[in-house]
């Protein structure tokens, strides 16, 4: 590799001749402790470089799901919206309507509708993500700390004729190459996301169905003139569902 910048300073002996004392020292220290050498600024293993955006996408989806759950908790239930405490009851909006009976009389009926049935529940997911990578291979190295692991997994016989441990590519993000740019640049890191409203998860659909089934209608008792305005709730209160008061 012609490019030997500061990012390649921690080259192991197999990777680069100009690693310098710092690089060799780091390699030796790594071999002694079993830990990976301290990565240079901006330089990661290629696996980490590729995996990091994917990991970020998974994290983003998890955060979106948590946001949806918080919304359902905060708006749909009477319990404390924060934390994982008791959900409480379904948050119900109450409406009144007039119902005409078979005998032609009208009565007031209270209709309770869960708030969850009235609101669009936000549930976003990443539908499509394109990841294009442009990286510059900074160094190749055979990490001493991995030789023992590789020997155990592969067996010495399966190594190449030179019996070398597999190399690890370390890279850094690079600028996008322009036409006429003579530098060899492998890939560009481009992340393009398309986010759409997710299909209703099965569990959430069941929750909404249960919420809708919780809608109920209760007959309202006609206001009693004796109570006047003392207790409006009792005067216009609702009776037990499906039962009529007989005095």
């Amino acid at each position: 590799m012609a490019e030997q910048d500061n990012a390649a300073g921690a080259a192991a002996p197999a990777g680069g001749g100009n690693g310098g004392n710092g690089g060799n020292g780091n390699a030796q220290a790594a071999g002694a402790s079993g830990a990976l050498p301290e990565p240079q600024s901006g330089v990661l293993s290629l696996a980490q470089l590729i995996g990091a955006p994917i990991h970020a996408l998974v994290d983003a989806e998890a955060q979106s799901a948590m946001a949806t759950a918080r919304f359902v908790r905060a708006v749909g239930f009477t319990g404390d919206g924060e934390g994982m405490g008791d959900l409480g009851e379904l948050q119900m909006a109450r409406f009144t309507r007039k119902r005409r009976n078979a005998d032609g009389t009208e009565e007031d009926v209270e209709v309770q509708i869960p708030l969850l049935s009235m609101l669009p529940i936000p549930a976003l997911q990443i539908k499509d993500a394109e990841l294009d990578y442009t990286v510059k291979i900074v160094q190749t190295e055979a990490l001493p700390s991995r030789e023992a692991e590789v020997n155990q997994l592969m067996g010495v016989k399966r190594m190449g004729p030179l019996r070398e441990a597999p190399a690890t590519l370390r890279a850094a993000f690079a600028r996008e190459s322009h036409p006429g740019d003579r530098r060899s640049v492998d890939m560009l890191v481009k992340m393009k996301l398309r986010i759409e409203q997710a299909d209703m998860p099965g569990g959430l659909a069941q929750l909404l169905a249960l919420a809708t089934e919780s809608s109920r209608q209760d007959r309202l008792e006609p206001p009693k003139p004796d109570n006047g305005g003392k207790d409006g709730r009792k005067a216009g209160g609702r009776s037990n569902r499906g039962k009529s008061d007989v005095e």
Binding site: A93, R94, F95, S117, A209
Partner: protein, 89 residues
């Protein structure tokens, strides 16, 4: 009752899909069923907590709704241009 699309419930009178506009609910306007003429009137006293949560959500999402309304609709693909010119082969 079966779950319908958000903001819709089966009409308590006829079972048809009944839209519940949030603005109308918050404003206390009656909800009318186009199928049977049923009129639902929100009980503001007994729905105080629910209306508070609904109003809070409505106000917090107001900027998002305004932004969504401001975005012009994308033109359909295919023939473009005022005169509907076809792409050259």
């Amino acid at each position: 009752m079966t779950a319908l699309s958000p903001g819709h419930i089966p009409c308590p009178g006829c079972g048809q899909s009944l839209a519940l506009p949030i603005e109308a609910v918050l404003a206390g306007r009656p909800i009318l069923c186009a199928g049977c003429g049923l009129e639902l009137q929100v009980n503001r006293r007994d729905s105080e907590a629910a209306l508070s949560a609904l109003g809070r959500w409505w106000s917090e999402t107001a900027p998002a709704r305004a932004a969504a309304e401001a975005v012009p609709a994308e033109p359909a693909g295919g023939i473009s241009g005022r005169r509907g010119r076809r792409p050259r082969r």
